[in-house]
Amino acid sequence: MSEASPAKAYALHLGAIALLFVLSFLLPEYYHGLLARIMVLAVFAMGYNMLFGYVGLLSLGHAMFFGAGLYGAGLAIIQLGWSVPAAFTAGLGCGAVLSLIIGLLALRSTGVAFMIVTMMFAQVFYLAILYFAAWTGGDQGMVVPQPARVLTFGGTSLDLTNPTVRYMSALALFSLVLLMMLAIVRSRFGRVLVAIRENEERTKMLGYDTFSNKLAAVVVSGTICAASGAAYALLFGYVGSSFASVQYSILPLLWVLLGGAATTLGPLVGTLFMYYVIDVTSGYTSAYLLIVGIALILLVLFFPRGILGSIRQRWLGWLP
């Protein structure tokens, strides 16, 4: 991979953000709403990509981090009556603490064992949601009341249920995380992570504390996923256990694989692609998951590094 000048990389990312901003005014109503949801879930995918793409750790338990943010924010509002910013912070805090604990335990393993350990922890988290149904709403979940989903700054208030406010909030979170990811990838920390992915033993021999770096990556990854979960609860008003199920651990993996692991924009592309394939094909047949499966197989056959990963490999070597 050749190195891009910082200006080129930042221009590309700022361009992508600008495009999403402009799309807010151009898209038909339905796609406007859908893209807001996709941007929030792309943040989830970016968090996943941090660990999977850059450190090479395949987790099957990231739904618990998304769930930590979702329930952290949702319960803070529903059960404690907190404000939107406080609830969002609570969601982030839950994700950070949970990922620190999980990281400390799960990073004792690698490879397949890491995958299984993370999946088991996520299952514990999921079953805990069902077990404490009196507070969490169990498998039915809970609605975040519409009047509580208002962001107040002094005298002005922003209604997060308003489509434009929701889109712009989603875009703000997405942009922040995207630029943060770009900065991380280009930082010394990001390079150490890639070094660990490529050869952990050699990185250790070079004097790096690989455990600390991996732990930091798990915490950053988990907190980003929690930010996505918290935003989902606040912007879309539903907190439910299905978002902590194994399906939501596999989805970010698929989105990242599709878009391109270890590419900063890949998670957005993958999430966008998957959403639209499902949305379009489900209009024609109830066997749409079959079509999604075929699309995935074709992509793996012809774009084994994902869409942006393959583009980087073949044409744009500088793509971050």
Binding site: G33, V143, T285, Y288
Partner: protein, 434 residues
């Protein structure tokens, strides 16, 4: 189409492309098949569009299929009788995958892409709760056929209604007098350890207590469980009635193992037919249920005293005397619930007519007109029976059936009264802004 190693290899045959095209054509054909209700839009005025949020895939698929059949039959009858306000009705179906996340997206799709007049038809509670915020934000009247207590709990919003099927809290309450008087006073509950089970866990004990009976044990079974024998020793010896509401594929194992545990000397059994919706009551392993009793919203089997309306409804939907699809005895319906689709559509019709509904700009009027409804008389529009409607909590209350398994059929032995299931309202949607 296999290579020398025996692996499936798409690249080594040209037939595959044709096969794929055939598959696509078949898929398109399926999309046009009955069950997808598509009507000509050649009427003089644009049709009223109803967005049907269907569980076509996922855990609710068996229900979804029968909900679609019932809906198609009701729409056919409504259109044949002149439609609603002189306009034909068109149903647009979107699959929610029985997933709350997708459910909310589907409601958004109906509101902003299909621009339907209402959204209708959701069954599974988590999908209803997940979709309700999207309906409220889009100010889209959302008529569910779920039987969950979520609507009546007033925790959702003013745009969500359940006018075609009694909620589970009311169903359970209305069962208690019969259980206490006929089955026994000491009841042990066995239920799945998730929300559907919790409704029964929470609402049955007070209802039984009011009838002089009591729940002496509650056994929650984790949803991941596939074998149940180890739970049965927890059933107290003095149990007179086992009240069971296991759902899902494990129910056959549950009943079989319960039969092996008790043999011929068992307590009375009372269950909710939800466990066995779309399942043949004569399936191997279910023999143990002979002589036991079930709640049924609407009877699966034709009864000797069926009303003309009930007979006409069954014929219109296409179910035979055994509650299976006409011409396919193995395709057992979800009769206890799906009548709710039929009745809800007639409630929508009535409310739209009362509101003088012309289009989406009249949605608020439609909400108010629905809230103003008080009762629905038994008849072709409400074949399950008469109902009252509480506009403050957006919930209807109807009669319930208790059926006995006899000779491989379910025979209705008791019909409850509407009053048996009434309870204090927990809130008032009408105080919320439209």
């Amino acid at each position: 189409m296999t290579d020398k190693n025996g692996f499936f290899d798409l690249s080594k045959t040209t037939v595959t492309r044709r096969t794929a095209l055939k598959g696509l054509a078949a898929g398109a054909g399926l999309a046009m098949a009955p069950g997808f209700v598509r009507y000509s839009q050649a009427q003089s005025s644009a049709p009223i569009k109803i967005g049907f949020q269907s569980h076509r895939t996922g855990i609710g698929a068996a229900y979804g299929r029968w909900y679609e059949k019932t809906t198609a039959a009701a729409i056919k009858a409504i259109n044949a009788a002149g439609g609603i306000n002189g306009r034909q009705v068109e149903v647009i179906i979107e699959d929610d995958g029985t997933d709350p996340g997708r459910g909310a997206e589907v409601v958004g799709k109906f509101a902003t892409q299909h621009k339907t007049d209402i959204v209708f038809g959701t069954l599974f509670s988590h999908v209803v709760i997940g979709s309700a915020p999207a309906a409220g934000e889009a100010k889209m009247p959302y008529f569910v056929v779920s039987e969950g207590h979520h609507v009546a709990s007033t925790k959702l919003n003013r745009y969500v209604f359940q006018p075609g099927i009694t909620d589970v809290k009311s169903q359970i309450k209305s069962m208690a007098p019969w259980i206490a008087a006929n089955a026994g006073k000491k009841v042990t509950q066995i239920f799945p350890d998730f929300a559907f089970g919790y409704d029964h866990r929470d609402y049955l004990p007070p209802a039984l207590k009011a009838q002089g009976a009591e729940v002496i044990a509650q056994i929650a079974i984790p949803p991941t469980e596939s074998s149940f024998t180890k739970y049965f020793p927890q059933i107290p010896a003095e149990t007179e009635v086992i009240y069971h509401v296991m759902v899902g594929p494990a129910v056959l194992t549950f009943v079989k193992e319960l039969g092996e545990f008790y043999g011929s000397n068992r307590p009375q059994l009372f269950g909710f037919i939800d466990s066995l919706e779309a399942v043949d009551i004569n399936s191997p392993g279910l023999e143990f249920l002979d002589g036991s009793h079930f709640w049924e919203g609407s009877p699966r089997y034709a009864q000797p005293d069926d009303t003309e309306a009930q007979k006409a409804y069954r014929a219109a939907v296409g179910i035979d005397d055994n509650g299976a699809a006409v011409g396919d005895p193995k395709d057992v319906s979800t009769a206890a619930h799906m009548f709710g689709c039929w009745e809800t559509l007639y409630v929508v019709k009535k409310a739209m007519e009362d509101a003088g509904y012309k289009g989406p700009e009249d949605r608020a009027k439609l909400v108010e007109a629905t809230e103003a409804l008080k009762e629905f008389a038994e008849g072709p529009e409400h074949p399950q029976g008469p109902k009252t409607f509480n506009g403050k909590i957006h919930q209807c209350f109807g009669i319930q059936n208790i059926s006995k398994v006899e000779g491989g059929k379910l025979k209705v032995v008791h019909k409850t009264k509407i009053e048996d299931g009434l309870y204090e309202a927990e809130g008032d949607y009408t105080t919320q802004a439209l």
